[in-house]
């Protein structure tokens, strides 16, 4: 007769490997003094347009670079390279999200230095990226006016895990009858206290105050952990 199963305690975080690598990245970023910002959103929310604008604005007085995750094409990297900032593509194949090890591999032998800001554009997806720490200082979640107001309620996990919410394509708000108050209430419902910005990458609306915020966060981080 076979013995009944015995239970042994394990207690291991399933994402331990990712978290360990992310911790290493965070330490590496802290040592080199770079402020790392990641971007998540659904496909077509305007991450690339936003990043293109952000890189060209910040480039005026800072050293900036970007890593771009994309399933198959290099279109985003090519678009971003127009800003003049160093850009590297991470092609994820069929993987729906970036993991810390991909960031680590992309940085090996590339890291342009010394950087002030490094942006990491995740794969367009509002579900999968939420579970993976990439070692970033700040996680931005973008949602566009054309997606309607209820994205935060449909994807609470990703909004809850973000530090800053950005409503994009504000120049189209009137055309799509975007209900701004409801959208903001929904974002705040799933993530009370989140920083919130309304922007248009096309017209530039709201971009300066967001850049001011990013510069302040960089200064604050450097002050807290001087090299």
């Amino acid at each position: 007769m076979s013995q009944p199963p015995r239970i042994i305690e394990v207690r291991k975080n399933v994402l331990k490997q990712n978290d360990t690598i992310a911790r290493g990245l965070r330490e590496r970023f802290r040592e080199s003094g770079v402020f790392v910002v990641s971007l998540v959103s659904s496909p077509g929310s305007g991450k690339t347009a936003f990043l293109e604008k952000t890189l060209s604005l910040l480039r005026l007085d800072h050293q900036v670079a970007a890593l771009v995750g994309d399933l198959a094409t290099e279109n985003d990297a090519l678009r971003l390279a127009r800003s003049g900032a160093p850009v590297k593509q991470i092609t994820t194949g069929t993987l729906c999200h970036l993991e810390a090890v991909m960031v680590q591999n992309a940085l090996d032998g590339w890291e342009p230095k010394p950087l002030d800001f490094l942006f990491i554009e995740n794969v367009g997806n509002l579900v999968c990226p939420s579970s993976y720490d990439l070692g970033e200082n700040l996680r931005l979640v973008l949602t566009s006016v054309t997606e309607g107001e209820d994205k935060p309620l449909k994807y609470p996990t990703i909004f809850n895990g973000a530090d800053v919410a950005i409503i994009t394509k504000m120049d189209l708000a009137a055309a799509v009858e975007f209900d701004e108050a409801t959208a903001i209430a929904n974002i705040r419902a799933v993530r009370p206290g989140i920083e919130l910005f309304k922007i248009s990458s096309k017209s530039g609306q709201g971009m300066e105050s967001l850049m001011k915020y990013l510069r302040a966060r960089l200064a604050e981080t450097r002050e807290m952990s001087p090299n």
Binding site: I7, K12, V14, L95, C96, C128, S131, T157, A189
Partner: protein, 114 residues
Amino acid sequence: MHELSIAMSIVDMACEEASRRSVRVSAVHLRLGELSGIVKEALLSSYEMACLDTPLQGSQLLIEAVPVVVYCPKCKERRSLSSVQWLSCNECGTPTGEVLQGKEMEVVALEIVE
């Protein structure tokens, strides 16, 4: 759909533990937070696939759902939520972003046959 990568990590972790102890694993106990971003049903079917052709083939994944617990700054207490779409104290309604529990994705135990 990143449940398959998660399932594969769980299987890897359990296989490693099993070979280290020279035992066979018949079930894996997992604690899964409601804010982990993982869908239980998708994880269960991914787990079956991830087990194929491994020493864990035929084993079971037993999932314990972990509800979200927040800290209410007004009550100064640990509180549950009425829904994951409304991060606020279920007693007084104060919004709070301080999540104390509910993001877990943790293998807590293995059932083994020696």
